[in-house]
């Protein structure tokens, strides 16, 4: 019996199977994978000498053995018309996923590949043009004629300001340096687009300007620092679920005391080396916390600040560090800007206010007890027995980034760590965990920084919903689910795209390319219509409203390069299958668009404009784009002490041949070329000598005082509204599914257990509302509505619910407000007020097949 098809034997890769090195396509951890491809009809044997794994498949021990699970095999058809077995298993020689560890996401890399035999047959194969209000297949040439015709018409009649773009800026997930450079070159070199936003937010910005503008890039530590730290702090980061192998291979062994020998080797002689302490700052009792409570009894501390108050808490911990003199004045004087430090001291640490008064105020704002704040400061910064400096690694993620007041939140946690010199030493660092991998290389972006550095960037969502823009081009993201205030956004974009569709005609539409282009341009002038282009792997919710859909090729369908987040480890993700149909890499699509634009301009003798679009002519293959992108980086023939001057992702000097040679060991960016020998050198850990500012000194920042909640949320806290919307809602992710589930929604291994988006409700609230696990509820407020399945759990406090942010069947973003931090235009996805009601009846199938057991209870 099984809820979906299962296997009890799998094809064994023969010794001569083609072996490829690659890296998982999903989360920030970037586990190493090995892919084996061989023709259907051949099989290897169980003995070590008879298979490509080189292991005896009759007798494997736990952990040490090679995992080859049912989800790690698929059969695909290549362009030669033959069928091949594809096996994607965790690599055993990666410094990241040591021991061949892997998560429930990466383990499905094989079954997520395109196959006509699986649900992934849904992949887009051909360009689709909306003709007569239905999608009809067209050739790439026709698609490009329409797209370039409309884009050029908009430039001629109006300007690039009418072209709005939403595109990925990340690595992994079929993106990487090559596709980033393709997209960046098209929109910043060819077009001069300023209304562009990043995949998961409404503007083109860094989520961590609060750190970068201090001189600290967010990826400054190495995964091994989690093995060496005396204390690990997770602040708004649920690493066990969202960076699982970083937790199980680097944090958990340290909590269990299994890395003490490594510590003794890395630390000064005689320095205390004990199992780590663990501080979790999160409104929820996350599984990262409760698993640690099992592994490190008595060495865990949980701080649960009120939503939005984290920066006040970080400042209060820093005040304790100051008060108890857990800092090194030499470090502060030599490495940080002491003039700015005075402002930080007075504003953020409130040194002019008596300690007891300052702490009482912090306690009342954050809801965290003074004793716990002091305990956290001791665990983070108190010198160890014997006097050695404590080594604390602080990892933060969306709980801080997508918090109210993004800039101040991130700045406060970074400053807390720098005050106690928890940066640039083994076992320290203050950085983001990351969500996806990275791979950013582009010409200069239109927004240099926060409000303190030429910002804030434009809110492109608002630009569009206000009725501006003529062309909206969405690449590899699904904003109908992923943008804040998503309900208003998708209703408005739907309305505007339909307006244009209606304008094209009630019956017959123009049959010639030029006729269609002309009519679209006329419609864009005469109405409020919007021409929507979506470039993606699948027909997404957003793509359903598009006029033109462009099929992109995915992970494994081309060579790509990316870095992971926790070690900045650059590796080559080798091509191992052909893309479906005529799908193409994003950089190839950008190249085709550019060449078509150039041709249109040349035809009318406009050489000046044509030349802008010639950037891609020299890109014949993936490595050409990679090498061309490297020219964006500054001179990297510099000594090690100068590493802070380099962009975090600098890979200048690296070639595909080099990456093939180093394989899973990769090279850590920023890469330098030795000034004497020219030899490539990676950077294990950043800021040991200097910070990334002009003078090399850390740039302190005085955070704002507590000013309460922004109007978009405070409206729910007053009068009648407070009764109408009695619950706080925070949001986040789940272990087993990746982002909007674009692949996972096709895998029964994922959808059976998580058939719907869900909310976590405390037992007391559930009792009051008369709901139980597996019930279906509506969650709503004045912004939007969403239907969710219920989990009852003590992960949340009474009065607070947690909602899954993205699911193919709905999103908590419908209820989030349009508020963004005025300093950065980063949204607050993780806090608003809502009401809940049970939808009468139930779905017996869900009750029968989806588990509702409490997923943070391990004891």
């Amino acid at each position: 019996m099984a809820l979906f098809e299962r296997r009890d034997q799998l094809p064994i890769p023969p010794k001569n199977a083609k072996a490829h090195n690659t890296v998982c396509q999903y989360c920030n951890v970037g586990c190493g994978y090995k892919v084996y491809v061989w023709p259907v009809g051949q099989v290897g044997g169980v003995q070590a000498g008879q298979n490509a794994f080189g292991v005896d498949l009759r007798n494997q021990g736990p952990i040490a053995g090679q995992t080859y699970s049912e989800t790690m095999h698929s059969v695909i058809t290549m362009k030669d018309g033959l069928q091949y077995h594809v096996v994607a298993v965790p690599a055993k020689d990666s410094p990241i996923n040591r021991n061949g560890d892997h998560s429930s996401r990466g383990a499905t890399n094989a079954i997520a590949t395109w196959s006509e035999e699986r649900a992934t047959r849904e992949r887009l194969k051909y360009p689709l043009l909306r003709v007569g209000d239905m999608f009809q297949a067209v050739t790439w040439d026709e698609a490009m004629n329409v797209l370039a015709g409309v884009a050029k018409g908009i430039r001629d009649k109006w300007s690039d300001d009418e072209i709005a773009v939403k595109a990925f800026d990340h690595g992994g997930s079929g993106a990487g340096f090559e596709n980033n450079y393709g997209v960046g070159s098209l929109f910043f070199k060819g077009f001069s687009v300023k209304h562009i936003s990043i995949h998961n937010r409404p503007a083109y910005n860094s989520e961590v300007w609060g750190s970068r503008e201090r001189g600290v890039h967010e990826l400054n530590y190495d995964a091994s620092d989690a093995r060496l730290a005396d204390t690990i702090v997770l602040w708004g980061a649920n690493t066990y679920e969202t960076a699982s192998v970083f937790y199980t291979q680097h944090m958990l062994p340290n909590l269990q005391g299994a890395t003490v020998a490594e510590k003794q080797k890395a630390f000064a002689k005689g320095e205390a080396a004990e199992p780590a302490y663990f501080v979790v700052v999160d409104p929820r009792r996350t599984s990262s916390l409760t698993a640690a409570e099992q592994a490190a009894q008595g060495r865990t501390l949980h701080l649960r600040p009120n939503l939005g108050t984290d920066y006040i808490l970080a400042n209060a911990i820093a005040r304790v560090i100051w008060e108890r003199k857990y800092y090194d004045m030499n470090f502060l004087q030599n490495r940080t800007d002491m003039q700015k430090f005075e402002a930080y001291k007075s504003k953020s640490l409130g040194v002019g206010t008596a300690y007891a008064n300052f702490m009482a105020e912090a306690e009342s704002i954050t809801g965290v007890k003074r004793a716990d704040i002091e305990k956290a400061a001791d665990w983070i910064a108190k010198p160890k027995p014997g006097g050695a400096k404590r080594r604390t690694l602080t990892i933060y993620e969306k709980g801080m980034i997508w918090n109210m007041k993004n800039y101040d939140q991130v700045a406060a946690v970074v400053q807390m760590n720098v005050l106690s010199q928890n940066i640039g030493r083994p076992g320290t660092g203050v950085g983001r965990q990351g969500g996806h991998q990275e791979g950013y290389v582009r010409p200069a972006a239109p927004t240099p920084g926060s409000i303190y550095n030429g910002g804030p960037p434009v809110n492109v969502d608002k630009y569009l919903t206000d009725g501006n823009g003529k062309l909206y081009w969405v690449i590899a993201t699904n904003p109908y689910l992923s943008t804040p205030n998503a309900q208003i956004f998708r209703k408005r974009i739907h309305e505007r795209t339909k307006t244009l569709t209606d304008y094209l005609g009630q019956s017959g539409e123009p049959g010639t390319t030029q006729g269609l282009v002309d009519k679209i341009l006329k419609g864009l002038e005469a109405t409020e219509g919007l021409f929507l282009v979506v470039q993606d792997l699948y027909m997404t919710h957003t793509a359903m409203d598009a006029h033109l859909v462009l099929p992109a090729s995915a992970w494994g369908e081309a060579n790509q390069t990316s870095i992971n987040c926790n070690s900045r480890l650059l590796r080559l993700y080798e091509k191992f299958v052909d893309p479906p149909g005529d799908a193409k890499q994003d950089w190839e699509i950008c190249k085709m668009t550019a060449q078509k634009m150039a041709a249109l301009y040349r035809k009318e003798g406009n050489e000046e404009q044509a030349k802008r679009f010639d950037f891609a002519n020299k890109w014949a293959k993936d490595e050409d784009v990679f090498l061309d992108g490297a020219n964006e980086f500054p001179n990297n023939k510099i000594p090690e002490q100068e590493e802070a001057t380099l962009p975090a992702e600098c890979y200048k000097g690296v070639t595909y041949a080099y990456l093939k040679q180093v394989g899973q060991q990769g090279i850590r960016t920023p890469v330098r070329q030795d000034p004497a020998t020219g030899k490539l050198a990676g950077t294990l850990r950043r800021y040991s000598s200097k910070f990334g500012t002009k003078d090399g000194k850390f740039s302190w920042y005085a955070t704002d005082d507590w000013q309460g909640y922004p109007e978009e949320v405070s409206k729910y806290l007053e009068g009648e509204m407070a009764g109408k919307y009695p619950f706080w809602m925070t949001t986040g992710r789940a272990q087993s599914i990746w982002q909007t589930m674009y692949n996972d929604r096709l895998l029964p291994e994922k959808t059976t257990g998580l058939p719907l988006p869900y909310v976590e409700v405390h037992p007391q609230d559930a009792h009051k509302l008369g709901i139980k696990g597996g019930d279906i509820v509506q969650v709503w407020n004045e912004e939007g509505n969403g239907n969710f399945m219920v989990y009852i759990t003590d992960a949340v406090k009474p009065g607070l619910i947690f909602a899954l942010q993205y699911h193919t069947r709905g999103t908590s973003n419908s209820m989030t407000s349009g508020y963004t931090d005025p300093k950065t235009t980063i949204p607050w996805y993780k806090g608003t007020r809502v009401n809940i009601r049970k939808i009468s009846g139930g779905l017996p199938d869900i009750l029968a097949t989806a588990s509702t057991l409490q997923n943070n209870k391990f004891d």
Binding site: M1, A2, L3, R6, R7, D8, Q9, L10, P11, P39, V40, G41, Q42, V46, L57, R58, N59, Q60, G61, P62, I63, G65, T67, S69, E70, V75, M78, K79, D80, G81, L82, Q83, N99, G100, D101, H102, S103, S104, A107, Y240, S244, V245, T248, S287, A291, Q294, D578, Q735, S736, E749, G753, A848, T849, A850, S851, L853, N855, N856, F858, D859
Partner: protein, 159 residues
């Protein structure tokens, strides 16, 4: 692999492949696809709710767990449809899962499985449900393991 092949050549390749490699049966095996032994693993009248019984199946090297859950389960046998059995090797990296208060917990990396829902992973790093063992009940109340619906960790074939 990008080379374009003529339709005629494609047909030739396909026919050749089909003839020489036996394409039909090569791609997938749906569980249960192997000759599993019938093994007596207990008697329904001796089972106590919540008490796990360990046994080996389909051979001496594979540990399995039989348990009466006290709640109806997918594939459960007995009056309450609550008696189920699973491979005890965690599908993540092969450690032995433990039965604790109505669920299976892996001590190595904390994967958790719901025995009432086909061994569904509801937390943790495992991607695959625990393989559920098909049980049969005879008129004496004896319980027999009959087959396994899923691949035991570490193997390329259950038998």
């Amino acid at each position: 692999m990008k080379a374009v092949i003529s339709r005629r050549k494609f047909v030739q390749i396909s026919v050749l492949s089909a003839a020489s490699l036996g394409v039909g049966k090569a791609a997938y095996w749906f569980a249960p696809s192997l000759p599993y032994p019938a093994l007596k693993v207990g008697n329904i009248n001796n089972l106590q709710t919540g008490q796990a019984v360990y046994f080996n199946y389909p051979d001496a090297r594979a540990q399995a767990i039989l348990v009466k859950l006290g709640r109806q389960a997918t594939g459960g046998i007995g009056k309450g449809r609550d008696v189920v059995a699973f491979s005890a090797a965690c599908t993540h990296m092969g450690c032995g899962v433990q039965y604790k208060e109505g669920r299976f917990v892996c001590p190595c990396h904390f994967s958790m499985f719901d025995p009432a829902k086909n061994g569904q992973v509801y937390q943790g790093l495992a991607s695959t449900y625990l393989p559920q063992i098909e049980l049969r009940l005879d008129s004496n109340g004896d319980i027999y393991a009959r087959a396994i619906g899923g691949l035991i960790w570490g193997r390329a074939s259950n038998i």
